[in-house]
Point group: C2
Chain length 423, copies 2
């Protein structure tokens, strides 16, 4: 008599979903990983694609390739639109086929987050964010095109607006984007134009908080702020963005004419909470239990940016490390249930530390009691990021690209490619 092999459906091929899939490699289950895109993206380096340092292919790997040798696992390109937890099915649109019902025995929701405009969804059209490769490519096209248009623009006010770049939100993404643009105008673009001087671009970083990188120690925020000023970034703190439209942004009570406003502030979780109709926190993230399952559904796990779990009285941050550790925990947990072993102890996040880059040769690092800023922190950042890039082929390619960009100030992928509509 053959026993039916249980199916673990994982939704989302980000850090959490991929870690869960890999942890089930030797488990006596079948695994189906569903994602809207065909690739895993190394999100912490998206800003380098947006600023033309790296090519999209250098920070992304096809999910099928990553899991090709894992024979119990298949991959499906599809868009989940709902969950029927009573009959244990998810509802998926895949290609031309809508409303496909896929049965699961275990379900892992690792569906991440998108941008939150804090109730101002009308900003979205004028201030795109940076979550996917498509976002990063669009932003790259947009930034490069702004300089192209500035070069032919006769009207000085319009030229100024084309050469003004506003980042809304001074977390790691905002700081990294602002400093990367600052480095780009001073190095790569320096000799490329005849009528404009890219160096004269205005790069403005805005936040409501008192300091940038609010999740870091105050001394590191200050080090980052000083470095940003050195790079020529105009850092405006304790200022709220009142309005964003096609002509720019209103920051505090000042209107800043700008053709490039980039949203690096809030994130909003995926609709996993709505699909499940379960308890969510204020931000909309699914409240999960210490074993990462949902109340009354021991077969449904929710992990990463779309989950809400407190540890020592504070909610876990929405970072890659949390998602990866949770993904591995879920894999192990299912594995133990399948093999009749005792359950795992409750999940505990181990914080290895935080890093943020500020331009060339400079990063801030906080890990346990260690606080570090400057070149050494930047070296640590480069080493860690290379180690984490999912495939060895990517690792080499990024390494050589960085050395090349570092030495030559040439960038890897300074292309404007506007796709035609798909047929």
């Amino acid at each position: 008599m053959t026993k039916k092999i249980p199916l673990v459906v994982i939704v989302g091929g980000g850090f959490g979903g991929l870690a869960a899939a890999k942890a089930l490699r030797r488990a006596p289950v079948n695994v189906l990983l569903i994602d809207r895109s065909n690739h895993h993206v190394f999100q912490p380096l998206l800003y380098q694609v947006a600023t033309s340092v790296l090519a999209p292919g250098q920070i992304a790997s096809p999910l099928r390739g990553l899991l090709a040798d894992q024979e119990n696992t298949s991959v499906m390109l599809g868009n989940v639109t709902g969950i029927d937890s009573a009959t244990r099915h998810i509802i998926v649109d895949a290609g031309d086929r809508e409303g496909l019902r896929v049965a699961y025995d275990y379900l892992v929701l690792a569906t991440g987050a998108s941008h939150s405009y804090f109730g101002h969804n009308e900003f979205a059209h004028f201030a795109p964010g940076l979550k996917s490769l498509a976002d990063a490519e669009s932003l790259r096209n947009h930034i490069l095109t702004a300089f192209e248009e500035a070069e032919t623009e006769e009207n000085p006010e319009r030229r100024k607006a084309l050469m003004t770049f506003v980042m809304v939100g001074a977390g790691p993404t905002g700081v990294e984007m602002a400093s990367a643009i600052a480095v780009m105008v001073r190095t790569t673009l320096r000799k490329n134009f005849r009528r404009i001087d890219p160096k004269s671009a205005d790069i403005i970083l805005v936040d409501m908080a008192k300091r940038p990188l609010g999740t870091f120690a105050e001394s590191l925020s200050e080090a980052a702020r000083l470095r940003l000023l050195e790079l020529g970034v105009d850092v405006r703190l304790e200022k709220a963005v009142q309005m964003i439209d096609a002509e720019g942004a209103v920051v505090g009570d000042e209107r800043i004419p700008s053709k490039t406003v980039i949203w690096t502030a809030g994130v909003a979780p995926s609709p996993a909470g709505k699909w499940l109709g379960c308890d969510v926190d204020r931000a909309g993230r699914v409240r999960i239990r210490q074993d990462l399952t949902v109340q009354n559904h021991p077969e449904i796990f929710v992990i990463g940016d779309t989950a809400s779990l407190d540890q020592d009285g504070r909610p876990l941050p929405g970072v890659a490390q949390v998602a990866m550790q949770q993904g591995r925990y879920v894999g192990k947990s299912v594995f133990r249930q399948m093999t009749g072993k005792s359950p795992l102890p409750p999940f505990r996040y181990f914080d290895k530390g935080n890093l943020a880059v500020v331009g060339k040769n400079f990063a801030v690092l906080q890990s346990g009691r260690v606080r570090m800023s400057g070149f050494l922190a930047w070296l640590v950042w480069a080493l860690i990021h290379m180690q984490f890039l999912a495939e060895s082929s990517l690792r080499f390619s990024v390494f050589f690209q960085w050395i090349w960009t570092y030495l030559s100030a040439q960038r890897g992928d300074r292309l404007i490619i506007e796709q035609r509509e798909n047929t």
Copy 2:
């Protein structure tokens, strides 16, 4: 008294336009290069982007970067819409600014060619071609998505159509695309799917002619045909394509259901002839004189795929070598006029030979009396193409990518990236 420095306007940053601009590096003129895109593309390798071997950034360089150190030259991103040859102005749309008038003293039109559907423009929507990076990226998305959809498709007929790839036209591009897809399904994609077998894909190459690669010697056409058969490509000769729609193509009197039809047949010149209102050949290419100028306009040069010139009673072919040699000739010619030297002798094309790749390790080569097919020809192909890639950074990157793909069967850029609409 200062003399006004003459302005040479070059339209098009392909092989011809770029060669002309570089040849004017030390000339006592100002040069303005206008192109619709911000980069020069190495067109002979576009098929490798479409089949995920190379990333777009590996075969394209920003024009501004290529000409950054050439101080008499500036670059403009713009779309030429007309020419007023009486007052010596071109009309350009650049960014938000339409109908900009740019005065020239010399004009070089190197505006290339697009696809010709031989009077069947309704085919264009269903059978895209391969002329730009955007074309290649769209095709890459399309081919990869077809396999993704086939993996979830239950209906065997629809699955078959998703896994059928039809190339219309057995010139170098058609042969290279067909053989590259054949290699891809047998190597890279081999272990990636669970429900479909990529190897079972139908790859069909259609042409009206009696043999593929009609510009090569018959013995080489036959070698290529045999190699294509070995790779599993279904080569259908002396067959006309009657119809192409969303469901496939009608070839001869057979309907081939296919979700991917790729147009690799005819090319149509740019509208340069219409802009000038001058004498054109049957295909619409501008008839030029032996010094590459247009009748009655010694200040207007037309070169490359958009020009028509006979040599020894036969029209010059539309290949990169002709465009490059003509570009260099124009640069020298203007240089000599500026420095009061005697005019150049009439232009003569020196044919260094032709190459086409058929899958991995195999190419055909024809140069003077030399005819070669097989691995050695493929090595020559690889060396020549690397040498020609415009920037040294590209050269290294492509070299390592080829070695990596060759050894590991992994491809560089197997990503589906659908851009959102530009804001």
